[in-house]
Amino acid sequence: MTNVMIAWRSILRHARRTIVTVSALFVGLAGMVVFQGFLGQMMQGFRDGTILSGVGHLQVAANPQYFVDGEFNPFAYGFKDSAAVARTLGKQPGVTAAFPSTGFVAVAGLGDQSATLLVKAYPADRIYFAPSSGTIIPPSDRFNLGTLVDGSTVKPGERDCLVIGETAARILGAKVGNVVTLMGILPGGNLQGRDFTISGIFSSPGRDKSFAYTDYATASDFIGMKEPPVLMVIAREVRAVPAIAASLPRSISFRTWKDLATLYVQVSTILGSFLTVIRAIILLVTLFILGNSMNRTVLERMREWGTLRTLGTKKQNILLVILWEGCLQGLLGAAAGISLGFGVSAIIDAAGGLAYHNGAQTYAVMVRPGLDSVWLNLVPAVLTAGLAAVLPGLRAVRLTPSQCLREA
């Protein structure tokens, strides 16, 4: 207790030096918290966007091989009784929707133009395209497949309709209302052809050149599969996914969104590493600044160490006083910096967040650092500050009491 008290009062007594010493930590961690809050929200948006772009929280297949090549060859992996599995899934706590999905590759022709399309199919009531302007609050129980730039989405009960990507439409010279002929290759090399009416044209970076969407009933009829190869599951929240996965019967093969959203996982890992590097740089700067400051403090207070030793204080207690001084400075700087970071984040949030423009649409990215920002920054900061005090501390106890008093 006395060690902590002496350490605490010493850093308060030299307030100006303490402020200068912890300023690097203070500013660095404040920025870190805001940055973490911003990135966290960005990544959450990226994650949710990825999940609802057709990945789903879970994908359930009758055969695990489906996850290897089923997207291009669904015919080999149909369920025996998908409705029963969908019912089972729908009963799991945390599941919002479980619905079939299929897809096929087809050559689309219009006049003398043609394009290869990967047609994905979901029940029409699970397909959503965002309007091209205005405030967007995408539904959480449907796949958000892009921005509708013309026409309308596929409506329930409507057959042989297609929403096509705007680049593919440009290649084909297609407009809403045009009829395109799709030629699909079925098992055994059979060709299946059918006319589809373009009900809408969507834009989605990276997808609108080769993707098209139709309703599940049309697609399953077109490719002649009564049962889907995969069931999509949308959960109420991402946190529910492990519990849902754990509750599934062993006979069901599944992949979670994390298994399937490889780009998200890669970006998330890279950003996590980037944050760690930035944090390490901040802590390294702190280590040098605090170490230097503590060294000066220790040298200036040789008389104090000598006196304490003379009065009977043991070496380890002197070392503890100095370590406490380091740790407390780290704690002060980190607590103040983290508080400032949360304060700045709250102000940015109150002002409506940071605007992000995507074409005609404007998204607001909020800055909401999580509680993990506290311990992720606080604990390393305090430990680093303590580490910075080790060498100065050892320097103070290396001398005899009389040497300390002589050097004062």
Partner: protein, 229 residues
Amino acid sequence: MTELIRIKDAEKYYQLEKTEMPALTGINLVIGSGERVCLMGPSGSGKSTLLNVIGCVDTLSAGSIVIAGLDAATLKDAQLSEFRNRTMGFVFQSFNLISVLSVFENVEYPLLLQRLPRHERAARVEEVLDRVGLKDFQRRGPERLSGGQRQRVAIARALVTRPRLVIADEPTAALDHETGRAIMELMVEMNRSAGSTLIFATHDPAVARYAARLVIMSDGRIVDDREAA
């Protein structure tokens, strides 16, 4: 009078680059319990070094020192710390109060190291502060005290553990003549009432008057050892 300190053939050298500088040479000294001894001599005569050795804050290069029956050379650093805390009180020329502690806390500090209960610490600190006339200054910080008051706090801190030996290195050197006189009278009075041994160093003959025994030093040697007049 029982023997408290026995120094035999003590030598102390300081290493200055490649040469050894003698600070103490051939010191033999016996001091009994309750004695009031003044180490006197000019600057550099070895008074402070001998006090440091007696106070176990420095070690001998050769020879031995036995205090209260214990050979200081046989004690480890932690044992020496505890020994100093329980056996000795120190008064320094520059007071050496801990600036971040109040008067009360400065005096209480050696008792905290002894892990005495709070009520006992408080009683002993108040008693000793009362004796040095600073009972009303308990909550003050050292920086708000005069030099004489600071030295009184240092004396209170030295005596609060009821040590057998009080060591004072030039206790009046940083004080004016009048305050120095008052401090010496206080130390002598407290030494008498507590029955402890007092060893102090000075180069001021006016201060040396307060000793019962004078040990005169020069160039690291004891050149005279006699009863004070």
